[in-house]
Symmetry: C2
Subunit: 339 residues, 2 copies
């Protein structure tokens, strides 16, 4: 491996000149710089990572804390980890992956050893142990998700409340009168996963506000079987469904409605909101307000890199507005009393 000393010798200059020529932190004659650059790439020189880290007090590494719960949707979390990594590279950072138990312990370790310049926290619970940890870590940290107590934190997330309100509004405005929400599994909410709870509350509040009949159900297994049955028990005239649930449950919905003679959108309109899978390839594609991993992670990494670069890291909650994608699964209903 070529070192900076080799490049200096080859270019006939001092080590510090090479460093400045490559970093551009001091002015260097064009002629000298060219000689240095030529020597560097002829030798295939790349600076030794740990030497650079040690001297520059910067690792150019971001730790990604991603616990994996038993009820975790692997594909969704993969997307977040990958997008974080991808965006980090655009800022010239690498990412260290911290999973399972190490999602917690690794945060402490990579911050204390200064292995990481900053931390992105994924899969945030309402009452997440990583919240107090982040507070005392003295290492810039951004949460993708919103825990209960956000004091002192920087958080980024889809505006689930807005998505829930918008879903209800769409259906009500289109004349729907009995709206069901298929939420996440009960165990997911019990564990304290943050966004299903936020979505659920906003859904209830908006239904009240709009004065529309509504019901909520949580799937048991991995299909929408039981959920559909329970919704129909409570709302025999069910004409709108909001999905804020997992891919397997959502993808089974059309077929299960079909067994009861219900067709989307003829009999029931459907909106999937705040979900991280695409509904485009479903037999009946649903309108959706996606939870866009790329958007969330890009915003998170931007904030983190700013904080690392010394711009202030003031606590704040950044909520990304939902985007509505129309796939034709919602149609207007005649309001009762209309022809």
């Amino acid at each position: 491996m070529a070192t900076i000393a080799d490049v200096a010798q080859a270019a006939g200059v001092s080590i510090s000149t090479v460093s400045y020529a490559l970093s551009g932190k001091r002015s260097i004659t064009a002629e000298t710089r060219d000689r240095v650059l030529a020597a560097a790439d002829q030798l295939g020189y790349l600076p030794h990572a740990s030497a650079r880290m040690l001297a520059a007090h910067r690792s150019h590494i971001i730790a990604v804390s991603e616990p994996v719960h038993p009820d975790t949707d692997d594909a969704a979390h993969m997307a977040f980890a990958m997008q974080t990594t991808r965006v980090a590279r655009e800022h010239n950072y690498d990412t260290l992956l911290l999973v399972h138990d190490d999602a917690f312990e690794g945060m402490r370790r990579s911050a204390a050893t200064q292995l990481a310049d900053g931390i992105v926290v994924l899969d945030v619970d309402v009452d997440d142990a990583r919240v107090p940890l982040a507070r005392k870590l003295a290492c810039p940290t951004v949460f993708v998700g919103v825990p209960a107590d956000t004091a002192g934190l920087v958080c980024v997330d889809l505006d689930f409340e807005a998505a829930a309100r918008q879903a209800v509004d769409r259906l009500v405005d289109a004349g729907h009168t009995q709206i069901g929400l298929i939420s996440h599994r009960q165990e997911t909410l019990t564990r304290g996963s943050n966004f299903p709870i936020r979505f659920l509350r906003a859904f209830l509040a908006q239904c009240e506000a709009r004065g529309v009949r509504h019901a909520v159900t949580h799937p048991n297994g991995h299909t929408a079987d039981g959920s559909v049955r329970r919704l129909l028990e409570q709302l025999p005239g069910l004409d709108g469904i909001v999905l804020n649930t997992t891919a397997d449950v959502a993808s089974s919905l059309s077929a299960i409605l079909a067994t009861r003679g219900l067709e989307v959108p003829r009999d029931v309109s459907v909106i999937a909101a705040g979900v991280s899978f695409t509904t485009a390839r479903f037999a009946v594609p649903f309108d959706t307000m996606p939870l866009d991993a790329h958007a969330s992670c890009a915003a998170a990494v931007d904030l983190l890199v700013q904080a690392i670069d010394g711009a202030e890291h003031t606590p704040r909650i950044v909520l990304l507005p939902p985007t509505y994608i129309d796939r034709g699964s919602v149609i207007a209903r005649a309001t009762p009393g209309s022809p």
Copy 2:
């Protein structure tokens, strides 16, 4: 942050004594060691990562190269990346995630800058660009998957050939006479993904060897619809199906067979082989020979860590024997002519 000098001062010994007391690389009186350890943990001392890397010529970081193809099964790949990370931690290594285009370029970069001590290559294609790269990198590398030209490489993978043979044998031994294989999508094979091809070839060879009627199909979309139709066209008496395909296709199979009046296992036996999803939660659970991410990654990381630690890194292909999990989806058929 406390440094080793702080610990040395607190314990009243020299820096090198602290280093040796903590690493155990030279003998230290029990009394001195205890004083050092006490000082270290009272100060919350953790060695500065880059300083340690620089001095010790070892980063304790493993790079994980994971390109993401358009037809990639995110959940499956998540499992491999996570398991690699998890097992690496058990060996006291952290993992750097390299995705998308950076799966290639990042390998070069992390090896050249000596950011990584070793590399795990996931999602290997038959004709993978990372194969020649690994050869010239002078950085220990283990492939999880088997490319076409394995000269000079260390590869770990499930023995897909054995899994295919065993699936065919099970069915033939149980009296099945017309066996269909639902493989991966054609585009996946065309791209050169390695294991579907290996599985397919071994399936064909074993069917020939056992002299059983057989057919192969590749799904078009995300269900088994077309596949079942095509298999039945070629094998009207289809009584056994081998699945080496994606989760969505597999999970749709029972329902689609049902629409044709076929029930598993009454009319058709099914074995899922070399698949990375679990069939346990399917409406009809299938017998399976799983592609176990943990087993593959554990073997890969073990080999890699050995290589990093200087044990020789001789090229070799490690094929893990498949494990058969019986879930009752295969039953014996009366052989023609028997009562």
